[in-house]
Symmetry: C3
Subunit: 312 residues, 3 copies
């Protein structure tokens, strides 16, 4: 693995998920694995789990960690080639990535879709700029279209809690008051399509995801049918792909006990943060079938596994 | 000790103060005490001493430290139960506390009175939320009504510099241009009332503190009488408790050489930051009787002692 | 060395540059040098290289590092003596420096010229305040008038890439859309005047630097003549010294292949961040003669050398 940006950097995700659970079972073992190594985590947006789990993963491997909030600790970066830089942006990504990769052994970068211009979001000049100009591996801490560290934690959680070898996993769209990126849903679909699960996506019509990213999963518009016999329900809102970035209002797609009753006592998953009583009812989230805390905890082991592989 | 929020978590404060001084006398000894352990320090407001002394305390014990500025690094937390979260707040404290406590061995949280609504301040939904939903110990880095890490450092400083077994300690209200919380004063009183000292509070009429928090110390409205024979003078401003949160203007309550002359060559204490020539004159603050730097230094050992006890 | 503020703290800079390259050649060797020691890096402005290279230098020496963004993490500091602090500033630098130096073994401070009032900038109340009131060594992470950590990295880079013992080094003014401090240029000149190089400064008339800081180098107003036979070209913009802090517009002073053709295949140096196609053309910056990445990398070893000497 040279970088960690999409499923194509990984190939088969199952061994990675296994490795994550193996590391989790013996957390003390890795404390000297990457002693003397360093990682820089670059953020442009607020983040709780990604920030804290990446820090913890690095610490567990014995690395030193530096968090750099570009635009707050530093300045805006120029991403285009050939520009005459006489305006607001003080540094080009060529220099920033060149220097930061000379300072650290690993770089994590988080970019974020602005959901206004699809072509611009899909170009993802920030993460692709770091990939182009860095001399060390780049880990996506979520890109404009994908969130592979989340997906690895998700797969590990499914393997951790599954009672059957090939569980039924349902990705269900849910309501949300804001326009959210498609990254988590795209990436989860991409990973599920490459894993040994029965995978179904359910959402209202008009919320189809980009088939070029999802790997073309089965879509079942009837939510009840989709939930029938599910072992895991993964709840996630996303804004429309076509037209790009609009909020869809379907408040009845909230996940509550009534719809969960159609499942095979499914584990409830969500990447967090979650808006209670909008995305999912308190009754589901506070029930024993909620897996959100172990799922979030697995973010540490997902990151640790990826960092370990990139340093090996 | 399960958490560290108020004097009731501590019982007798004297052995803790002794332990703080004992750790201070041998700083190298603890470097592997908590190796492999981690702490997250959560701030909502600016802070110098609390932030830096907590970081240093954790480092001295060999822990890794992560500072998380909620609202800057992350987002606003919903604190109420049962809310339909369709407004600005993206994450509920149930999830935030659940996840952060799954990531770290210890959590420090600082909340801050807004001094507008006493009931709301006294509920202190942030710190009590963390206590309710965390799976690891919570350390108050100052709550809306108390500041026990400061009080422990204060008691250790008194024991470090006292020449008699039962010194006279005076808490004196001082002027300040802004409305400040009562937390430091409440907490100091609470700790002094449980320690082997002669304790007197002096302030203008109308600045009575909450007797439910202070432990009902002797109040002497005549400042000169209060300062008579004092071994330690602890200066602190607070806003009014009744009506709640108003600024009181008594510029003559500044602490200067004239009023200090009434004491038994008392050590001058203040939790810092201090407004020179408003709270206290330069002449007192720059005199040999000023204990503010050793007192601030003891914040490290206060925090180290508490972290050590909570991890034991 | 007691502090690291200007060339006068250093004396002969050549042995320091040698030591930096020697440390660079064996990075693993120092990991326990300063184990148990701590540094606090205090910033008032955004920074990429200074922030990240100082962090890495401290980590390489085995120190723990705390970054403190005054004004964001803390509050504004009062710098004047004898003030009645009844306005916005909550803490005096006497207390801030006293406390921080009680907490850490080393303090790095970055101040920044505001370019409006020369007397005020030259007093540099922030760094001189820390020097006056700190009980531990102070490292300038750039002051209002000097940037010695940069200059040490610059000299080390010249020694690393020079093919002759006494290379010709040219400091060339370049265009920039904003008013920038003179600190990097002053400091570079100060260090070059004390090193074994042939040093020439070139700039348009009216951009003379402060001779009290530069050490009175040879100034050649004809850029072509200055570049003739140069082994290193150091590009840097600065605003006018007289009148103080104005932007000068000479777009033809951009450094491009045409002017570089006059040199002895000179290495191109710049402290970064650099505005492409304003300060220097893409063609020079992306050419093999560009030394900007190794030069930025040497910031780590410059800082490590200084920290090491101040702790010895």
């Amino acid at each position: 693995m040279k970088h960690f940006i999409s499923i194509s950097d990984v190939g088969d995700p199952e061994p990675l998920a296994e490795e994550a659970l193996m590391m989790k079972s013996n957390p003390e073992k890795w404390r000297n694995f990457a002693a003397g190594k360093s990682i820089c985590l670059i953020f442009f947006n607020p983040s709780l789990r990604t920030r804290l789990s990446s820090i913890r993963a690095a610490e567990i491997l014995g690395m030193t960690v530096t968090v750099f909030n570009v635009g707050k600790d530093g300045w805006q970066l120029e991403l285009e080639d050939g520009t005459v830089m006489d305006k607001g942006k003080a540094e080009h990504i060529k220099e920033a990535a060149g220097v930061i990769s000379a300072y650290f052994d690993l770089i994590g970068v988080r970019s974020f879709a602005d959901l206004k211009n699809r072509d611009k979001d899909y170009r993802d000049a920030m993460i692709s700029g770091f990939v182009n100009y860095s001399s060390v591996p780049i880990v996506s801490l979520e890109s404009t279209t994908l969130h592979p560290l989340q997906s690895l934690a998700d797969l590990a959680t499914i393997r951790e809690f599954a009672v059957k070898k090939r569980p039924k996993v349902v990705l269900s769209w849910t309501p949300h008051p804001r326009a959210l990126p498609q990254a988590v849903a795209n990436s989860f679909s991409q990973w599920m399509m490459n894993s040994d699960v029965e995978f179904v996506v359910t959402h209202p019509k008009g919320l189809e995801l980009d088939p070029g990213l999802t790997g073309k999963p089965t879509v079942e518009y009837n939510r009840k049918s989709a939930f029938e016999g599910a072992d895991f329900v993964y709840a996630k809102n996303w804004s429309t792909f076509e037209p790009y970035g609009e909020i869809a209002s379907h408040p009845d797609w909230i996940i509550d006990e009534k719809i969960m009753a159609h499942t095979n006592d499914a584990g409830f998953m969500h990447c967090l943060p979650v808006r209670r009583n909008v995305v999912v009812s308190d009754s589901v989230l506070d029930s024993p079938s909620s897996l959100i805390i172990p799922q979030a905890t697995n973010r540490i082991w997902s990151a640790a596994t990826v960092f370990k592989n990139l340093l090996s």
